[in-house]
């Protein structure tokens, strides 16, 4: 989702050199809004936002007509309606989104098996191996755009570059309904004028540290003396940023393992914890991560499992099968907390806790039943996803987790979190 309203859209020159740019980033254009408008074409030209008209709802996507009024994703609906009183607000229809996402992802997979799905509406493709069969990256990009339009009526934008990082920026610059190739030779020149926030991994905190030493553009970071950078953001980040700023990104396109059997997170504490409230808090954080990952992968878990390891390394595991698969953090947390309570560990110090969703299934629709016990939480958590997609993982969390959030939101102060499946770190 992008803030741009399309007025600064870039288009590739017809003869752009795509000989060394095998990485495609395909991003659907205002996906939710476009899908929701498919069966009401008469409203397609109107400014449209997806969300709920009621209460404290936020905009989850706005179409380009709405963006021209300044309406953006994650903006409170009330504010959006102020900016654009004629805004048409459509309730999200996740079943339809998943349906179309499935069609689109299949089109990508017809091109190459090297597809890394980033979310419901975007993916990386590595088409190095498809050149002989299907043509150059630009030709493949055009084919994808055509097939997506033919099979779904939706528009997408393709960014093509030598690396994932640059391809993603390219698709952002090429929106809407475009294709932008950044030839390998032009990568550095393309990156240099961009603001530092365009760099992968630069969030509010890092940006602030960099701006404090007057580094504002990618060029500034690329040219900055290494010592200065290290002092501002630490050695690991400094190295990573400088490589990115110089157009180097070693990450490959990694297709998801055929079918993930489970998604789990666990945390090992530096100092074992015994306080039941602290244990519950950890469970809440872990459940939240598991649920967010499930939602990102469009999966639901039919079984919730927990693991507890004590100081003497005895390890207990328990699991419970649910009536209906879930991807709601609250539900996973409640089941996990129940399972841990049932262990009756009564004050025994715990060195590791894990929460895991098992028996994964795709596209389970909770609305198939007459009532949905998780309805309220589901709505709240999908709003949270929107905010996190926009402002980063630390943007919003349970109040219970606040005290352990600072200074680095992704790592609790007294432990290390280990992911079972490497997440995409953006």
């Amino acid at each position: 989702m992008s803030k741009q309203d399309g007025r600064e859209r870039l288009v590739s020159a017809a003869n752009a050199d795509d000989s060394e740019t095998p990485i495609l980033h395909v991003d659907m254009d205002s996906f939710f809004a476009s899908v929701s408008l498919l069966d009401r074409p008469e409203d397609a030209h109107r400014p449209v936002a997806i969300g709920h008209r009621s209460g404290r709802s936020v905009v989850s996507t706005a179409n380009y007509a709405a963006r021209r009024y300044g309406v953006n994703a994650a903006m409170p609906m009330a504010r959006a309606l102020q900016l654009c009183p004629s805004l048409l607000v459509i309730e999200p229809d996740f079943a339809a989104y998943r349906h179309y996402s499935g069609i689109v992802m299949n089109i990508f997979r017809e091109m190459t098996p090297m597809v890394e799905v980033l979310g419901i509406d975007e993916a990386f493709l590595d088409v190095s191996g498809a050149r002989r069969l299907l043509g150059s990256p630009s030709e493949i990009g055009q084919q994808i755009r055509r097939r997506v339009r033919e099979q779904t009526g939706l528009a997408c934008t393709v960014g093509i570059a030598a690396t994932k990082f640059v391809a993603k920026i390219a698709s952002g610059k090429g929106k809407p309904d475009g294709l932008l190739v950044i030839p390998k030779a032009e990568t550095v020149a393309f990156l240099r004028p961009l603001p530092i926030r365009a760099l992968w991994g630069v969030g509010a905190k890092t940006a602030e540290s960099l701006e404090r030493i007057a580094l504002r553009t990618v060029a500034d970071v690329a040219d900055a003396p290494e010592r200065l950078l290290v002092r501002a953001v630490g050695p690991a980040t400094a190295l990573k940023l400088q490589l990115l700023a110089r157009g180097q990104d070693a990450r490959r396109v990694e297709p998801a393992v055929a079918a993930e059997k489970s998604i789990g997170h666990e945390v090992t504490f530096e100092h074992s914890i015994a306080d039941p409230r602290a244990i519950r808090r950890e469970l809440l954080g872990l459940s939240d991560r598991v649920a967010a990952r499930l939602r990102a992968a469009d999966m639901s878990a039919k079984t919730v499992a927990i693991k507890v390891r004590f100081d003497d390394f005895t390890t207990l595991s328990r699991s419970r099968t649910l009536a209906e698969p879930t991807h709601v953090a609250r539900r996973i947390f409640e089941e996990a907390a129940d399972l841990v309570d049932a262990l009756e560990i009564a004050g025994r110090p715990v060195r590791l806790i894990g929460v895991r969703g098992e028996q994964l299934q795709t596209g389970t629709d909770p609305r198939a039943a007459l009532w949905d016990p998780d309805e309220d939480w589901r709505e709240a958590e999908s709003a949270i996803d929107t905010l996190r997609a926009r402002f980063g993982a630390g943007a919003i969390m349970s109040a219970a987790l606040l005290d352990r959030a600072a200074p680095a939101p992704s790592v609790p102060p007294h432990g290390i979190v280990r992911d079972h499946i490497e997440p995409y770190d953006h």
């Binding site: 079943a95 339809a96 349906h99 609305r367 007459l370």
Partner: protein
């Protein structure tokens, strides 16, 4: 112990006693049938701590006593005995069964280890057996078969002074039936609810279907609550399922202005036909217009089907996607020549509102309103 009994009476009694025995049990002793004789006659019982069945029959008792034998084996034997009086006699821990020219020797299991059968002491009411049996059959189809959520594997009985409500759901549909009953000693205004395992209730319905009146009693013992059904010298007890049944009655619409009336038999035939091309779990698309009802089975590449039948629509045109198996359960259960589909709207614009199935005695005459079947349509995919 020594007794002699009529073959047919005995065979029928054994088959009743073993019917509710679990297929597999962790405690072998629970697979037994307890036979007790005393001055008043012969009693056969089975019990697995959840459900018990007990029946009393007439027999010629020569010597009182009690034995415990494998229920399934005894039932198999009893059903194949020649037409002659059946004689039982114990010798040490063996049981000798003779009937005409046939004889069997069975091992007795230790009677003293068998749990005691729950006694019924609570107040009871009376319900006409045929009506109760029909109501159970109509409602139990909607009960969940998934043990993950025990609460909805039961049928909720709602006892009021002169009527009895039966409710079941599996979260995709809800079936509700009201029948008249004589609450007898029960109540005093206090409404009682009891959650009875659907499987047990179905057996009770079948067993007692032709018994005149069934006496229903509620008992609590050691903080477990029991329900007991008795008729014709037979009694079935069951532990009630613990937990709170979901408040499904509020899902039913109060009024509906948008509805269609269809011939039930014609609809069942058509649904079965058109569903032939559907893949498992797939739904049929129903389009109601002023011209009637069109059913379409799409989505499979190999085959498609459609059929049009008469339907009298009141209100707006409507398109719905329904699972054929769930629909047919409701159509079979409504037991009337015509059926009314009432359409509702849900608060969530992306979710279709549930559809209500009720009886209709003719095209324009609503039928009895004692049975309601509420079904959640699937999401419509374009």
């Amino acid at each position: 112990m020594r007794f002699s009994v009529n073959r047919d009476v005995f065979s029928e009694a054994v088959s009743f006693a073993v019917k509710l025995l679990p297929q597999r049990t962790t405690l072998p002793i629970l697979s037994g049938v307890l036979i007790e004789t005393n001055d008043t006659g012969l009693t056969l019982s089975s019990f697995d701590y959840e459900v018990s069945a007990q029946t009393k029959i007439v027999a010629e008792i020569e010597e009182s006593g009690s034995i415990l034998v494998s229920g399934r084996l005894l039932a198999d034997i009893a059903s194949r005995l020649p037409n002659a009086p059946v004689q039982f006699a114990t010798e040490d821990n063996r049981i000798l069964v003779t009937c005409g020219s046939a004889s069997f020797t069975l091992l007795s299991m230790p009677v003293e280890e068998y749990p005691s059968i729950p006694e019924i002491s609570g107040q009871s009411g009376l319900v006409p057996a045929d009506e109760f049996s029909a109501a159970v059959a109509q409602v139990a189809v909607a009960a969940s078969r998934d043990d993950v959520t025990p609460v909805i594997t039961g049928v909720q009985l709602e006892v009021a002074e002169n009527h009895l409500g039966l409710v079941a759901t599996d979260r995709y549909r809800v079936a509700v039936r009201e029948i008249d009953w004589d609450s007898g000693e029960i109540g005093g205004g206090e409404p009682i609810t009891a959650l009875v395992p659907a499987r047990t209730l179905q057996e009770v319905g079948k067993t007692f279907g032709h018994s005149g009146n069934i006496s229903v009693a509620f008992t609590s013992k050691d903080d477990r609550e029991l329900i007991a059904f008795s008729a014709d010298n037979k009694t079935v007890t069951s532990l009630l399922i613990k937990g709170t049944f979901p408040p499904v009655r509020r899902l039913f619409p109060e009024t509906t202005e948008n509805y269609a009336v269809i011939n039930t038999g014609e609809l069942i035939e058509a649904v079965r036909r058109v569903s032939l091309v559907l893949e498992r779990e797939a739904a049929l698309r129903f389009t109601f217009t002023i011209d009637g009802l069109v059913m379409e089975a799409v989505g499979s590449e190999q085959a498609q089907a459609s059929e049009k039948i008469d339907a009298l629509l009141t209100g707006e045109d409507i398109v719905l996607s329904l699972k054929p198996a769930f629909l047919i359960d409701g159509l079979n259960a409504v037991r009337s020549e015509f059926v009314r589909f009432s359409f509702t709207k849900s608060e969530n614009t992306n979710k279709p509102g549930p559809m209500l199935i009720t009886a209709q005695s003719s095209k324009d005459q609503p039928g009895a309103d004692s049975y309601k079947y509420l079904l959640q349509p699937n999401l419509l995919l374009r």
